[in-house]
Subunit: 160 residues, 2 copies
Amino acid sequence: MTEQKTLPIDSIDRAILASLAANARMSGSALAARAGVAESTVSQRLRRLHDDGYLRGFHADIDVAKLGMSVQALISIKLVKHVREEVDAFRSAAPNWPGVLAFFHTGGGDDYLLHVAAHSAAELRDFMLTYLASHPAVSHTETNLVFEHVTGRGLEQLLS
Amino acid sequence: MTEQKTLPIDSIDRAILASLAANARMSGSALAARAGVAESTVSQRLRRLHDDGYLRGFHADIDVAKLGMSVQALISIKLVKHVREEVDAFRSAAPNWPGVLAFFHTGGGDDYLLHVAAHSAAELRDFMLTYLASHPAVSHTETNLVFEHVTGRGLEQLLS
DNA sequence: AATGAAATTTTCTTAGG
DNA sequence: CCTAAGAAAATTTCATT
């Protein structure tokens, strides 16, 4: 069930991953200095880490509030049971709805969590009405405003 | 209350941010080509976007499951009321607990949500016992395993 | 599989318009 | 904001170990 077919990575790989987790734009030479290897070695490692799926990509961390999305919410969603077709439709549609930052499918029943951003409370309400209240697979929702969102140190600890 | 003191950004800034959100390692010349401006302009814009807080940083997207953390959970936490000191201690400590990927403070009561990763169910149980069950500010928790975690398109839509 | 150094290519910065 | 140009740095290649 779990993905771990490829060979385990070593301390050099972990050092490279840790550096890129902290600063994805770090140059190959800086990565090499931190990992204690040659630049050409870093090139090879990077290609392998990407090919083997350890490195999925590199993303800018952008402050959505500064772009006008000052409202964020976590929306817990329960779906109706035993309607496989509509559940699948929900799963594939939800991440594409406007303002959706993250989408979780969680255990227990047919439970989901959406992390959404909106320009205003009114826009959030419209989102709920448009995409959730009217959706045939949705049986219940619970919305909580996000006051604070902090990235944890779990990843860097794992790589250190 | 909301942060938006600096001048609004224009379509060039948005193009640069959108490109970096998709690929944080994109070169200045590639960014320039996509935004339709000169490289030197991109340098200026990047510096300003960073200085003004639109760009917080750049991070590698790493598959924690491939690193052995095959279990992920969302833990909802309710804190005891009116114990400001302990609530503050919780807030500052939680993001640093091992395996914590993200930490949300949400509205309603004193409610929090932790997104955590663990090597196994046993490690997750140990996490709960060590950091939550014994914490004086925690009154109730609810744990749900994460089956699927998808990044939404809300950000790229906002920037397009 | 990693090194180190050379060679090529690219990037960043500065200045002037 | 652009072009142009010079300096600096990065990436790739490859023979060697």
